[in-house]
Each structure stands twice: as C-alpha cells, then as structure tokens.
C-alpha cells in the first residue's frame, strides 16, 4: 500500500485513541478537583496541563472552566480533544478511498457535531459522548476493515497511543495522591474497575491498581497489553526471518521497553512512577519516529538549483 496512506491510517489510529484517552483523563481529574475541598485549583490545573502536554499559556489564575474549555475544544491547542478529532478526520479524508463509507461517516459526523462551548456542569456528558464516538469508530473499524496492512497500521497507531495515554493517566495519580480514593477513580476512568475487582477481589490498593494498569497481561488498556499488541502489529507487518533477534528497529525498541517493565517488581516501578512514565512516553515517541522513517519515507520536493560554474 502507499506509504502516505499507511501514514495517515497510523495517525488516524493514534488520534482516535488520543481523543478517547484525553476525554477519560480529563473526566477523572475534573471530578477529583471538584471533590477535593483543599486542593489548590491553579496548581492542580497546571500540572494537569503539563501531563497532557498542552502548550497553552495562561498568564492569570487557571480555573477548571478554562482548563475544560482549552483541553476539550480549543482547536489551536494540539493536545485538545477537538484537535485530535479534527486531525483524525483530516487523516481519514486523505485515506477516504481505502476506508469504508460507514467509518468515514462515523468520523466525519463526530467532527461536525463537536460543540462550540461546554459548561462545567455538562462536562461529563461531553466526555461520555467522546468515548461513545471513539468506541463507535473503533467498532466500525473492527467490523468492516480487512485484516491487511491497512488494519495493521491502524492498530499499531492505536496501540502506541494507548501506551502513551495510559502512562499519562498513571502519572496523574500523583497529582491528587492525598485526596482520597484516586486509584478507584482512575480505574473507573479506564473502564477497569470491575475487571480489577474481579481480578484482585478486594479493596483497591495503590500497588495493586498500578500493577493492574501497568502490567496486567489480559487487561486491554494496560501498558503491557498495549506494548504486546503493538509488537504483534509490527511483527505482522514484517514477519521476522532468521534465527536470532529482530531485524526491525522498531520491534527491537518496543521489545526493550516491554521487557524493562515486564520483569521488574511493581514496587520498584512505583518508587518513581512519574519518571518511569516519562521514560515510557519517550520510548513511544522513539518507536513512532523509527516507524516513520522505515514505512513512511519523506519525499524531498524537487527544486531547481542554479548552475554553479
């Protein structure tokens, strides 16, 4: 398939997952801000912006409403939900001829129904809507896309973004550590609460919850699971030949990232969770760059140069 198409599918997967992840993350954090009577609103909002990676500037005091408006709907902020949806739609438009009409309409209507403004009281509804729409899109992909390269690139993008988003979500656990049941809320936001309870049969503890979201081999939103599935997608794209190692640089990077998590103890990781999560995010960025250079080679634009002699 065309490199340009592959690239767009990869990014479509990433942006859809990012919209979903950002909505989940914000939903929990805004809830926590509201519940915690002693929290410093400005400081908490700023660290949240940092976790999401927003570059927006706020000279004055930052309020929940500002945060909500910026991260949800500000199209000029590349880390907002609106930007993710717009970019997903732009990428879908570029690959319009390889995706199904149903999928295109799913993405296109999501973009055209984006609200212009949300009030704080309605924020939960908005986040639920974003989750629903992304679930719809992924469901249509699941049901209508042939399992070829196009599928692999889409899934690869989605898995990489999921690693990144879950890592960010985990990093926020520190923000409100003293505010009570933050782990429960984080688990809920991932839709992981019930499966967590079934797995551990008990009250959430920070260690267990972190273990579940980081290292569980069966929970689809855990970092390890997403690492495994991106590894699988890469393998499907370029099946390894030869008796040793991996010939594909990206496979090697993912493998290293995975093993450094998988075979360490939870306590070890939790000791400096935020730093560990930064390492993972950096790792994802590196893998993404490697994939770009291998599968989506940039094309130099031809230009005329004057004669030298």
């Amino acid at each position: 398939m065309l490199s340009r198409i592959a690239e767009s599918l990869f990014w479509m997967g990433r942006y859809i997952e990012r919209a979903d992840g950002t909505a989940r993350l914000l939903d929990v954090q805004l809830q926590l801000l509201l519940e915690d009577p002693w929290i410093e609103e400005d400081k908490a909002c700023r660290s949240l912006l940092e976790v999401i990676g927003s570059k927006s500037e706020f000279p004055g005091l930052l309020t929940k409403q500002d945060l909500l408006q910026t991260i949800s709907l500000d199209k000029s902020d590349p880390s907002s939900i609106a930007s993710s949806i717009l970019s997903a739609r732009e990428n879908a438009r570029r690959v319009r001829e390889v995706i199904s009409t149903e999928l295109w309409e799913g993405i296109n209507t999501t973009k055209s129904r984006l609200p212009r403004k949300i009030v704080f009281e309605k924020s939960h509804d908005f986040f639920a809507w974003v989750r629903e729409r992304t679930a719809l899109v992924v469901g249509v992909v699941e049901g209508s896309m042939t399992r070829d390269e196009a599928w692999n690139f889409f899934m690869l993008g989605r898995a990489l973004e999921r690693i990144d988003m879950t890592a960010r979500l985990l990093a926020t656990s520190e923000l409100t550590q003293n505010a009570g049941p933050s782990w429960t809320t984080i688990l809920r936001s991932c839709g992981a609460y019930e499966s967590y309870l079934r797995t551990y049969r008990g009250v959430p503890s920070a260690t267990n919850a972190a273990e579940f979201l980081l290292l569980d081999r069966y929970f689809p939103r855990s970092v390890l699971f997403a690492l495994n599935s991106s590894e699988q997608s890469l393998f499907d794209l370029t099946p390894a030949s030869g008796r040793t190692g991996a010939s594909d640089m990206a496979q090697r990077q993912i493998g290293l990232l995975r093993t450094s998590l998988e075979f360490r103890s939870v306590d070890d990781i939790l000791e400096n969770l935020r730093q560990e999560m930064v390492v993972i995010q950096q790792g994802v960025a590196d893998v993404s760059a490697t994939i770009s250079s291998r599968y989506f080679p940039a094309n130099a634009i031809p230009a005329w140069i004057g004669e030298v002699s």
Partner: protein, 537 residues
C-alpha cells in the same frame, strides 16, 4: 395540479411568446409533458412540507457523507434538488449518438493536430489557431496511448434552446468533473423519492466506474496482463477531491498524489510500504501545466518530474491525454461542425450554439455594436469563468470589455443569449422554474464510446440567472433516462450443461429482475475476453 405546484408561472397565463425559455415539465398550455407525467403524479401525492422535510434529510445526509463544497470557509452540503430532470429514451438515443459523434471527431482532431496536421494543410483550420492556443502543447507531439485514445472521459455540455432543441454549449475533454455527483445523487434520490423508483423504470448509472476502469485498462501500454491503474489527485485541498476519492474507491484502485510517484529510467513508480511499484495507467485529475515540472511549470509539486518523457517512451498512459485542451478551446469549438463533415463525412447530429469569431473584422464590428445583447466568453475559460452576459452587465463592464475585445480578438467568442430551458425546482417560495444545463459523460475505450445514461444537470438557483456554476450558488438535479426496454440478452457464448442451465433457469425464475442483470454482466465479461482484450470488470 397538486398543491405542490401552486403558484408555478405558466407561459399561457403570463402571455409569453416563443422566445421564452422552454419549460421541460409543463407545455405552454399548462399540461404536463409526456416524459414528466409519472414523476408529476408522484410529486402531486406529496405535501409541500413533506417534500421540504425530505430535502432537509437529504442535505443532512450529504453533510455526513462529506459531499460538500466550501462556501466562504464553511462546509455546505452539495445542493441536490428533489425534482429530477427526465429524458425519454428515444430523445436520449439522439443525444447519445450526437455525443458519441462529437467524441469520435475530437479524437480524430487531436490525433491529427498532434501528428500530421492534415486539417491545417487542407485549409479548414488556420494554423495560427493552434499556435496561439495556450492549450496546444508541442511537448506531446506524437505521444499516443497504446490504443490511440486520448479522450477516455469527456463531458460535453448541452443546453436546450427556446424551441426545446439540444445544442452543444462547450466541449470538456481535459479533466471534466462532476460524474461523482451523478453517482451519489442517484443513490440519494432513491432514498428521497422511493415511490418514484417503484413506478418508473430508470436507467441505472452505477456502471460508470466499471466502464471507466475497463477503458483505462484498455489504454494501458502493450504486453501487460494486469495493468496497475491509479488516480492522480492534486490533494485534499482540491475542490473535486470528493470525486477523486469516490472514483478511486469505486474502481478499487490507488488514489495517489504527485509526491507518491517518481520516475526513473522512463518508468513511473509509486512509493508503497513494500517498496516501489510500477504504474501503467494514470487517470490524472491534475491540469496539464502541473503534470511534469520538466515539461511544463517548473514550480509544480503536483506531478512527478519525468512523467511526459515516460509517456513518450510508451511506458505509461496518461488519461485524459496531455494537450487535449486544444480540442475544447472555444474558438476551435466553432470549427467542430465542419470537422465532423471533414473527418467523418457526416452531418452533425447536435448543433452548436451560434457563435461569432471575433478575429473576423466584420464579426467584431457587429459584436461591438450589439455587445449589450450578447454573451461574451473567453476561449480558454470553463465553468462560466470570465463570462459576461451583455443584458445583465453594467455600462462600465461593457466598456472595459469592448477595449479588451479590440485588443485581443483571439481570446474571446460571442454568442446570442440562449434563454435555455427551465425545470421546476424547489426554492424558498415553493416550486419555481429555474434554468438548467446538462453535462452527460462519455467513456471511450477505443472500440466504442459509451455514454453514461444520465448525467449532471446543473441548476442556476437565483431567479432568471443564466450562468450555472456551483461556486455561484448553483444546484444540481438527478437526470433520469426513462422508458428503456429491458436490454436483450445476447446468446450465451458457451453452451452449458443442460442440467445446470435448468438449475439456473429455476433460480432466475425465483428472483427475476436481479439475477438477469447479473447473468448479463457475466456474459459481457465473457464477450470482452473473447474479443481478446484482457480487461475485466
């Protein structure tokens, strides 16, 4: 007459004479013309509110599908009117023959001017007409596709004059667009007026992508058993991007941008995740000037350098052919009737609109005198660009125009104002007559010119407006060809085992109507392969 058509102005009531526009649904005395009777009946059973409701649902659906155009930075659904244009199959047969004749003669003309130029030597066409056209490209002299076709796709614009006679308004043989709207409009109409589709047998248009793909494959360089066809688009920012994706999707081929292609050693490749892949046929939707920076505009990034050289070596087919613009030059248009006599020895089936060539001093003088009652068009514009309608223009515009005509008579033609036909259209105040033109599409596979049964009817939505253009508030209508007999099935090419054919017959009896068509299409495939062509639908 139903509620729906209340207030529709009729010629007899208004006392209009024979120079009034021809209304396609209502005869001057208010009776409904024969071809529109069934659709008129169907519409009469629908209340105005219901029709509006359906029109809104249609627009919403187009918005969701992304069938839109940019209007002042905002995305608007492509306007499709709920009332179709209806053409009877007998009338259509004439149009079909006329279009096919026109395409054949333009093919011969292009072959001639990029070859021996006999038409110039025989004195039918002044040589400076070619050399002064900005669309005549010497670069492609002698470049020819494997099956000799240059006009794989054409869109000949037609209008009906005051007497109801069809006339050719202009030829489009470069990159005519709009066919995607024909396909998607039909799909929407089936959802919007399902009762009409039950009552009326309408010729389907969904065959177009198959026909186009087989024509493209037929023009591939020789000795390739399974040619790779691609659609070349300028990119997502092009206003016809929707069309490019639709065609690529329905043909099941890659949609490429210039940066996806590269040329080495006279061959064209596309960049894929599995390395370079050879390209044999490019259905390009990029203008000539941007196709190849080595041959044309050096600053173009829309086409790969070296493309023309590859085409010249016969390693790739560019469709439509480069340099076709000379054939739809408006001044060349005035010579087409003579060309038909010269190349084919036939009389033109479809007439041109009367046209004055301004290079002739007498005509120029005449036109300058009557400029306020004529339509003046630039020869290389299309889609109403730069056109001036005399009666509607103010004094200053006309004065400027007069100076420009004197300065550059080669650049313009003049035509009388054709008060072309109107069709009832749903607008703000109800159903009102609006002027509409027509673009049928023809596909040439080298053996036969196939005309899509239907086409794009474009409506000028402002009252009395005679310029039809989607960027100037134009709408569209679906076009229905009705009354066709079910096509006769050709004799089966291969004798089947009798028990099997009995089984097949049993099945067809159970769900007749559909499987017959399938049967037929399979047979058509058979015939194509028997003809020795390697194309398959």
């Amino acid at each position: 007459m139903g509620d729906l058509f209340a207030g529709y102005p009729l010629h007899a009531e208004l006392g209009l004479g024979s120079d009034a526009a021809f209304d396609e649904m209502f005869a001057p005395d208010g009776s409904v013309r024969k071809n529109y009777q069934k659709i008129h009946q169907t519409l009469a059973g629908i209340s105005p509110d219901e029709l509006r409701h359906r029109a809104d649902a249609l627009a919403d659906s187009y918005l969701a599908q992304g069938v839109t155009f940019d209007f002042a930075g905002e995305e608007r659904p492509f306007p499709l009117d709920t009332i179709p244009r209806v053409i009877d199959v007998n009338e259509w047969a004439t149009l079909e023959a006329g279009i096919s004749q026109r395409v054949r003669v333009l093919e011969m003309f292009l072959d001639d001017v990029y070859g021996a130029q006999a038409i110039v030597r025989d004195g039918l066409l002044p040589a400076n007409l070619l050399t002064s056209s900005s669309h005549f490209h010497r670069q492609v002299h002698g470049v020819e596709s494997a099956n000799g076709v240059r006009i794989q796709v054409s869109g000949i614009d037609l209008v009906r004059d005051e007497a109801g006679e069809w006339r050719v308004l202009e030829d489009n043989v470069r990159v005519p667009s709009g066919v995607s709207y024909v396909v998607s409009n039909r799909r929407m109409m089936a959802q919007t007026l399902p009762e009409a589709f039950q009552k009326i047998r309408i010729e389907p248009v969904a065959d177009y992508p198959n026909k186009l793909l087989s024509a493209l494959r037929a023009s591939a360089p020789g000795n390739i058993s399974d040619p790779t066809v691609v659609v070349l688009t300028p990119g997502v920012f092009n206003s016809a991007y929707f069309e490019h994706t639709l065609l690529a999707r329905l043909m099941g081929v890659e949609l490429v941008e210039g940066r996806d292609l590269f040329c080495t050693s006279g061959k064209v490749f596309m960049r894929t995740t599995a390395g370079p892949r050879r390209v044999d046929v490019i259905y390009r939707r990029v203008d000539d000037e941007f196709l190849d920076p080595l041959a044309f505009r050096t600053d173009s990034v829309l086409g790969p350098p070296g493309l023309i050289a590859a085409a010249r070596q016969g390693n790739v087919t560019i469709a439509n052919g480069v340099g076709n613009g000379i054939a739809d030059d408006k001044l060349v248009y005035t010579y087409v009737p003579n060309m038909i006599r010269y190349y084919l020895g036939e009389e033109p089936i479809l007439k041109n609109v009367d046209t004055w060539r301004l290079e002739d001093p007498e005509s120029l003088e005449l036109v300058l005198d009557r400029i306020h009652e004529l339509v003046i068009k630039p020869v290389d514009g299309s889609g109403g660009k730069g056109l001036v309608v005399g009666p509607a223009a103010d004094a200053k515009t006309l004065e400027d125009l007069r100076k420009r005509l004197i300065k550059d008579p080669r650049g313009w033609i003049a035509q009388p104002v054709v008060n072309f036909s109107t069709i009832p259209t749903l607008v703000g105040e109800g159903i009102r007559p609006r002027h509409a033109d027509f673009r049928p599409f023809a596909v040439n596979d080298g053996k036969d010119v196939w005309v899509l049964p239907g086409g794009l009817t474009r409506v000028a939505l402002p009252e009395g407006e005679l310029v039809v253009n989607s960027s100037q508030g134009g709408g569209s209508k679906d076009t229905w060809i009705i009354g066709a007999k079910r096509p006769k099935l050709p004799e089966p090419a291969i004798k089947t085992n009798s028990s099997v054919s009995a089984l097949v017959a049993g099945q067809t009896a159970k769900d007749s109507g559909f499987s017959e068509g399938k049967f037929q299409s399979q047979q058509q495939q058979q015939q194509q392969s028997l003809d020795g062509s390697d194309s398959q639908c």
